[in-house]
Amino acid sequence: MDMKNLREYLGWLYYQYLLITSIYVLEPWEQSIFNTVLFTMVAMVIYTSYVFVPIHVRLALEFFSGLCGEQPESTVALMN
């Protein structure tokens, strides 16, 4: 009966989402509009983060490690 419990739990979660965003009081077509818009925005955020976050993280790491890496090299050069 785990599927049944899981479905009930998901139904309850959806009900909480309806209550917290106050979509509960709206008519069904308004609820669909809001759900569509929200889902589209969340999908766009996920897509953007999937495409761009690894690249940005890698560039940031390179930038910072480059910064920390340069300093000891230049002092060694001066010493010599």
Binding site: Q16, T21, S22, Y24, L26
Partner: protein
């Protein structure tokens, strides 16, 4: 110490100043003569305002009130919810305006379209776009006596609450947690109902005149003497409608050149009466004695606004129990202030008469004070006596003056005779004059039910406002969708509740308001409490951060 740190009240009680150990300065005057100083709290408790006030003998028992603060996350989510609803409201208004959608709201005629708008203005925005969507929680038709259990007419709506139709079925035995039936006198059998029936047979139902002209019956005189005896005042006067008692009599008592100090959360009838009177109105913070004292001192020192003449009279308007908060007025302190600054006190006991105090005589009885200290005692018969109408009690000169000068006596119809008889019988029952102990039992049952109900709700983890002894119990809901959801879910479980939202309460503090009654048995309260707990878990309403884990 010579600058006396105590003041003598008229009844001989000593009231210690809450300021301790103030030294005098060079002139020999104590700098600050305020009666009630703000207590300098060492530890600020951010969450709760638990006032147990033992102020030098003014209070004979602890005064425990709590108004827990709104949790921050809940407040943010509530604002977000209202924001989303506002956006959708604009969308629907746009569609209605451009005729994409049929407009159910009243609109002007074609010829008047260019005039100043009569209906579609911003004040109705909230009504059109939120209230209408959850309107099925209000105005439910009741088809039986509103006692502890009642019958509701079932309604269905096909166009989202713009119109309703009756399905023909009746929802039976709904537990009534919303009626102001504190002592359970709303019944159609028993002593009161029989007496009212006899009275109808004798007098009929109509009065057909105002009190001044031909509407003064002997039953009204009997009722007024009984009310005066019940309250412990010299004389009393009754009116046909409770709202009208306030709004029509305050103009007779105060006028131009008078000052009215009214509590922040006073009822609409008091506000209307104060505005109609034409006096200057100043508002003090709810139940806050420091704020009231500051206003009194400013009024006496500065006088009227431009001329600085002294005020003709200063009238303080307070209520016994505030029905939206469940709080009880701090009457001993108000009376001490009134005596010190020589102001008059108007006490509106609409919810507290019959419901508080060991003898049911109201908030004056509850604190054990002298009724002669309150200048004007006003109340209604709607709540605890199961009837309709209002009364004003006080000194004989005051009541004689009101008999001639009140708008209500001259223009409004007086009380209907069966209603007056119902009040007479129920009042006699409460006072014990009919020979039975029924009144005492009801009072005891009400106070037991109140304590039990409040304690159980607090233990479950809900945020409950108000004083521990008040039979009005507001339970906080906060989010707009939960207002509608709570009302509907409770009705599904056969319990009728009252939910309140924006204009009556601040915008984020919407609540469900329960009224405990002496007619509720322990089983009914348990059923109701189980249902409330279930709905609370379903809707996630248990916000309180002081939860005592149940063993």
């Amino acid at each position: 110490m010579t600058e006396s740190s105590t003041i003598m009240l008229l009844n001989g009680e000593n009231c210690l100043r809450a300021v301790n150990g103030r030294k005098t300065d060079k002139n020999g005057f104590v700098k600050n003569h305020c009666l009630f100083q703000q207590q300098q709290q060492k530890y600020r408790r951010p969450k709760e305002n638990h006032n147990i006030w033992h102020n030098g003998g003014l209070y004979k028992k602890p005064f425990v009130e709590s108004f827990e603060e709104t949790p921050l996350l809940v407040a943010v989510l509530t604002y977000m919810g209202y924001g989303i609803l506002t956006i959708f409201g604009y969308l629907r208004d746009f569609l209605r305006n451009w005729k994409f959608e049929k407009c159910h709201v009243a609109t002007e005629r074609e010829e008047q379209k260019d005039f100043v708008p009569l209906y579609q203005d911003f004040e109705n925005f909230y009504t059109r776009n939120l209230y209408m969507r959850i309107r099925d929680n209000w105005n439910r038709p009741i088809c039986s006596v509103p006692g502890a259990k009642m019958d509701l007419v079932e309604r269905a709506t096909h166009d989202y609450n713009w119109t309703f139709e009756h399905t023909g079925k009746v929802v039976k035995d709904v537990i009534n947690m919303g009626s102001y039936n504190y002592l359970g006198f709303a019944e159609n059998t028993g002593l009161c109902a029989d007496a009212a029936t006899e009275c109808t047979v004798k007098y009929g139902v109509a009065v057909c005149s105002s009190r001044h002209e031909m509407g003064n019956f002997d039953i009204h005189e009997e009722l007024e003497q009984l009310v005066a005896r019940f309250l412990g005042v010299e004389s009393a006067m009754t009116f046909g409608m409770g709202f009208a008692t306030n709004s029509m009599n305050i103009p007779a008592l105060a006028g131009k050149g008078c000052l009215i100090l009214s509590d922040e959360l006073n009822h609409a009838s008091l506000v209307l009466g104060a505005r109609l009177s034409g006096s200057t109105i100043r508002v003090f913070k709810h139940n806050n004695m420091q704020s009231l004292e500051k206003l009194l001192r400013d009024a006496i020192v500065h006088g009227q606004p431009r001329t600085h003449r002294p005020w003709k009279k200063i009238l303080i308007l307070v209520e016994g129990i505030y029905s939206m908060e469940g709080s009880i007025v701090r009457l001993p302190e108000v009376i001490a202030l009134k005596k010190k600054y020589k102001a008059y006190l108007y006490l509106d006991e609409a919810h507290s008469i019959g419901a508080l105090g060991p003898g049911g005589r109201g908030v004056v009885d509850y604190f054990g004070l002298d009724p002669r200290d309150v200048d004007i005692m006003m109340g209604t018969f709607t709540k605890s006596f199961g009837a309709a109408g209002g009364y004003i009690g006080g000194k004989k000169e005051l009541i004689d003056y009101l008999r001639t000068h009140s708008h209500s006596t001259v223009y409004a119809t007086s009380m209907s005779p069966p209603v007056a008889q119902q009040i007479i019988t129920s009042m006699r029952c409460i006072m014990g004059e009919d020979g039975t102990t029924l009144g005492q039992e009801r009072l005891r049952k009400l106070s037991e039910n109140t304590t039990y109900f409040r304690k159980r709700l607090r233990d479950m983890g809900f945020i409950i406002y108000g004083n521990n002894d008040s039979p009005v119990v507001p339970l906080m809901l906060y989010m707009p969708a939960k207002i509608g959801a709570f009302g509907r879910e409770m009705l599904k479980r056969n319990i009728g509740t009252v939910v309140v939202g924006f204009p009556a309460t601040p915008i984020i503090e919407s609540r469900a308001r329960f009224c405990v009654s002496a007619a509720h048995t322990r089983e009914m309260l348990d059923t109701a409490l189980n249902a409330i707990s279930e709905v609370g878990d379903l809707l996630q309403l248990k916000y309180s951060r002081h939860r005592i884990p149940t063993s």
